[in-house]
């Protein structure tokens, strides 16, 4: 799981992209959206959807579930582990 979390951090940095941020600076439990944590926005949510499909072959079946899945790096990693083909 630790390795998957590090992988996802690296993909977020490359794909969103996040300038001047290292994987070590991303708290896996911190919120990705809103004023706390990374402060991502709606375009980033679309980029994460594409990242999951491109990097892991995972499509979010229920778009309403995305809000919870995308809440932190840990929650994304848990979803990937459960649904990875």
């Amino acid at each position: 799981m630790e390795q998957l979390i590090e992988e996802i951090k690296q993909y977020l940095i490359e794909d969103l992209p996040l300038e001047d941020i290292t994987p070590a600076e991303i708290d896996a439990e911190a919120p990705l959206f809103g004023d706390e944590g990374l402060g991502l926005d709606s375009i980033d949510a679309l980029e994460i959807t594409i990242m999951l499909e491109k990097r892991f072959g995972i499509k979010i079946a229920d778009p309403k579930a995305a809000k919870e899945i995308y809440s932190s790096v840990s929650s994304i990693a848990a979803y990937v582990q459960e649904n990875r083909k």
Partner: protein, 335 residues
């Protein structure tokens, strides 16, 4: 039609972002890297300080916004009445990434960020957002006439008293794919070098104590042109501005082919300069020509073999040719 140049800024293949340094040192022309004259980028982090806004910006947008902010800096016009941007190709780097993603993923995926950054009007829009500017904001993507079209918009609106100030910015970027496509078309022959950059001008409808030069005439011409077509156009533009062709002190030539041959054909101007040797060839390179005309008139200097030397200049003409198809003439005079 007339527009006064209040301030300007230039990012190019030469170290022009700090104009005092560029004109304060010995004359040097940039060296091409595999046929390309890449821009000498300023430190964008110190200019676009918000990392959240900066992180999605492609090279074109960083160049365009940085030159725009720099042209406004130190003036009394934090928000001009209008913003006109000019780019022939828009965010080409992002366009290529966006298309590559679609192709690689069998048309099932498309990156939203690359798509947003790819459109021609993105840097004008982002400049407006950064300045919290809600006025006229138009982008001209008119090939080799993009910059000229943006200038005409500004000058017409000033002539109609619709606006008093305008920020007019040109920008185009190099990508490896564009270079390769144009190479296959046979464009990069005879020493032609691909360039990129961004030039921004804060224009006003009336001069103040800082104003050194004004654009007093502008003409676009579609090729092919005969020598007499060109000569007639130069004479017509000069006469309409109240001058004779003998009054042209400085001819800044932006030619794509054989400079020596074209210099002879054009013939006008007490001094002639090939300005594209500092910036390379791209669709909005006339922005560099205008920037250099304004600087040389303001500083009263011309290039000699190695140094910038003092000269008495009153009238300059910028002649630009793009792909032997789009031609423009800009007449610039001291105030």
């Amino acid at each position: 039609m007339k527009a006064f140049i209040e301030n300007s800024s230039c990012i190019s293949a030469s170290p022009t972002f700090d104009a005092d340094v560029f004109f304060g040192e010995s004359i040097a022309t940039p060296l091409a890297n595999e046929g390309k004259l890449n821009a000498q980028d300023p430190d964008y982090k110190s200019i676009i300080t918000d990392a959240g806004k900066r992180r999605r910006m492609g090279h074109l947008i960083k160049m365009g916004i940085s030159s725009s902010l720099s042209a406004l800096k130190g003036t009394n016009y934090a928000k001009p009445d209008a913003i006109m941007t000019a780019t022939a190709m828009g965010g080409l780097e992002d366009t290529e990434k966006f298309l590559r993603c679609i192709i690689d993923n069998d048309e099932q995926l498309a990156n939203p960020s690359n798509f947003i950054q790819s459109t021609g009007n993105t840097f004008g829009g982002q400049t407006g957002l950064l300045l919290q500017h809600h006025g006229h904001n138009v982008t001209y993507a008119h090939g080799g006439f993009s910059f000229e079209s943006a200038l005409i918009d500004a000058m017409l609106q000033m002539a109609d008293d619709e606006i008093e100030t305008a920020l007019v910015t040109a920008a185009d970027e190099i990508t490896a794919t564009e270079y390769e496509v144009m190479r296959k078309m046979g464009f990069w022959r005879n020493g032609r070098m691909m360039g990129e950059g961004s030039q921004a001008f804060l224009l006003t409808s009336s001069p103040n104590e800082k104003t050194k030069a004004a654009i007093i005439g502008l003409k676009t011409l579609k090729g092919p042109l005969s020598v007499s077509d060109l000569s007639n156009a130069i004479q017509d533009l000069t006469h309409k501005a109240g001058y004779d062709t003998e009054d042209i002190d400085l001819m800044l030539l932006g030619v794509d082919c054989d400079y020596e041959a074209e210099k002879t054909i054009i013939g006008y101007g007490k001094h002639q300069i090939n300005y594209k040797k500092w910036c390379g060839q791209f669709a909005t390179a006339s922005g560099f020509g205008l920037w250099m005309a304004n600087e040389l008139l303001s500083r009263q200097i011309i290039p000699s073999a190695e140094e910038w030397e003092a000269a008495h200049l009153k009238l300059a003409m910028v002649y630009t040719e793009y792909r032997q198809n789009d031609y423009s003439l800009m007449l610039v005079a001291t105030v």
